[in-house]
Amino acid sequence: MAAFDVMMGTGAAAAAAGVLVLRLSWARARRSAGLNAVGWLLILAGISAGMVAAGAWGVAVVAIIAMGTAAVLLGHAALTSPPGRSRPSERRAHMLPGKGEPLHLGQRVLTFLLAVPGAMLSALLVALAARAGAGAADWHEANGNALALFLLPTLWGVFAFLLLMLRRRGQLLLLALPAAASAAILWLGPQA
């Protein structure tokens, strides 16, 4: 058996075992830090083995196997779950106003504008500033451009989430501060 097969097989087995250990651990009445750690370490070891065997491809394949193991366990849980009458969660999302409360449509539109075009613009400026920084640090052009292309959606997602967690003043600061700092870097920094 080739070293590749051994390493991938070990990685897949470790990741699947890690999921099983977590299943055991989380089923206990009391939390077991030791068992949790073993589970996560096995998953980490599996992913590392996948990485050593075949880089990002190996990681992707091991991750699919771990998710597949969890899916089997979930399927078992679904099939064996007894009919229940538990009380469902009544947590309100507070998405819409209650009866008689004003709709605050203007505020909602403003929030949307901040979270969608506003956050995108801010993320784009930070991504471009990162590209400028990469250029200044003598990174290869491909790395700098790829960094900017990957940063744009990642930062936008994080900004959009954080924005909705903050009050208006915090929202404006969250967008304005990185955008202003990035604009300054782009204005003063290297142009190529």
Partner: protein, 446 residues
């Protein structure tokens, strides 16, 4: 962190999760469903045109002859700027030549066998990529939806403090919304690595136009091509003077000798028949996430170097890996099946999210039967509309108006469901979906 702050944070995250989810749910659901189906993009093409010639491999000289035959049919038309030869690969063992004017299959002798007819597969891919909105707007909207999945994942994890602790608890038979919530939470937490990978790669692809314009405007004097050249390699200098066609056979022979371990999947002729022409071969590498490496050749078949997608800069390798990671074509049929199941899970997560929100409102006494029925129509009507387009492809043919069928049917289902909210509407769509799928299966077999 105090318990009070934690509770407040959880509540805000739940509000954020609900807000984002409700705003993007319908479009996101369409992208999820089409993304699940398009995993089998190559297999769908084989179903659409089962008679197209197939072959395990094709000789370099045959490819050369085929290119000459295809270009000979285009005399009198504007010169094609790019000619693509799809070479037989295990998932799609066909040789197809695509120019600016046509796409045709070659047989094993390099003769033109038939026009390529994969209208439905292309419609499906475009629906997933752009929601049928032409130009950069559509793909940017889909990229933004990818971003929103990232935000939904973050807010979802924070809004549910026990999401990992309860990761194996699935009270599937519990009514009153518990089962639905458990499906939503369990599927989302266990598919989280997949969801984040899909969302980020999709967002990078979708927002490449915006990012590319930004980079070009700031660093490349507005030249978009120059932005991507360091990553994927650049175009040659155009020279429109006429020249004999490039020696593609020599190029492919060179590839076989010099790079025996790779599998050429495409030959691309840039400005064929001009003095500025050059040839690019894309070759797949086993056990890699990259879609391939770009090998550059001149018209005489002399090798000029590889772009570096396989072993170049990290940014090149990462950029070349996003397509296969997103579409699941990096490990043959087993990975494709896994991607379809994971895609289905993501579609269920999207659909159940809104249903959970509606259920909570109903338990508080806020009933909105039209809204509930409308969402049911999205959940079942979108796959039904998609199945109807497939049925139209198999019964009417390649020229069926897929875009119109899909969008008109989807809108009609939602409108009808909202006008006459009833359980029977939902049941009717479920049965119609089953009937359409069985009808498609029968039509494909016959």
């Amino acid at each position: 962190m105090t318990a009070a702050i934690q509770k407040d944070t959880v509540q805000k995250a739940l509000s954020a999760h609900a807000a984002i989810g409700l705003v993007v749910s319908a479009l996101l659901y369409i992208v999820c469903v089409t993304g699940t189906v398009v995993v089998f993009y190559q297999e769908w093409q084989r179903i659409e045109q089962p008679d197209a010639p197939e072959m395990a491999r094709i000789a370099p000289e045959t490819v050369q002859a085929g290119i000459a035959r295809v270009l000979a049919t285009e005399k009198g038309k504007p010169r094609t700027t790019h000619l693509y030869v799809h070479l037989p690969v295990p998932d799609l063992p066909r040789t197809t030549v695509t120019t600016d004017h046509q796409a045709v299959h070659l047989d094993g002798a390099g003769r033109i066998a038939a026009r390529e007819e994969n209208g439905w597969s292309e419609f499906l891919l475009a629906l997933h990529y752009t929601l049928s909105v032409p130009g950069p707007v559509g793909i940017t909207i889909v990229g933004a939806l990818g971003v929103m999945i990232v935000a939904l994942s973050l807010s979802g994890v924070i809004a549910h403090p026990r999401i990992f602790r309860d990761a194996f608890r699935l009270r599937a038979r519990d009514r009153n919304g518990i089962g639905l919530a458990d499906w939503h939470n369990r599927l989302s937490v266990w598919t989280l690595p997949f969801i984040l990978a899909i969302a980020l790669t999709g967002a990078v692809i979708g927002l490449a136009t915006v990012g590319g314009y930004g980079l070009a405007a700031k660093f490349y004097k507005g030249d978009i091509e120059a932005t991507y050249a360091p990553i994927f390699g650049g175009e040659g200098k155009p020279d429109a003077r006429p020249a004999p066609l490039p020696d593609v056979a020599a190029t492919l022979r060179h590839m076989a000798v010099r790079f025996p371990g790779v599998r050429p999947s495409y030959v691309i002729l840039h400005d064929p028949g001009t003095a500025g022409q050059h040839v690019q071969v894309i070759a797949e590498h086993d056990r890699r996430l990259i879609y391939g490496e770009n090998y550059a050749f001149d018209a005489q078949g002399r090798f000029h170097g590889a772009a570096g997608l396989a072993d170049g800069e990290v940014g090149q390798q990462a950029s070349a890996s996003i397509y296969n990671l997103h579409f699941g074509n990096f490990g043959g049929l087993p990975v494709k099946i896994a991607y379809v199941l994971l895609g289905l899970a993501l579609s269920v997560v999207t659909a159940t999210g809104v249903s959970i929100w509606l259920g909570k409102r109903e338990r508080r006494g806020v009933h909105a039967p039209r809204l509930r029925s409308g969402w049911d129509a999205v959940t079942w009507g979108v796959p039904l509309a998609l199945a109807l387009t497939l049925l139209a492809r198999l019964l009417i043919g390649n020229s069926a108006p897929f875009v119109a069928i899909f969008w008109i049917a989807s809108a009609l289902f939602v409108a009808l469901a909202m006008a006459w909210p009833s359980r029977r509407t939902k049941r009717g769509m479920q049965w119609s979906l089953l009937a359409s799928l069985l009808g498609s299966l029968a039509a494909a077999i016959v």
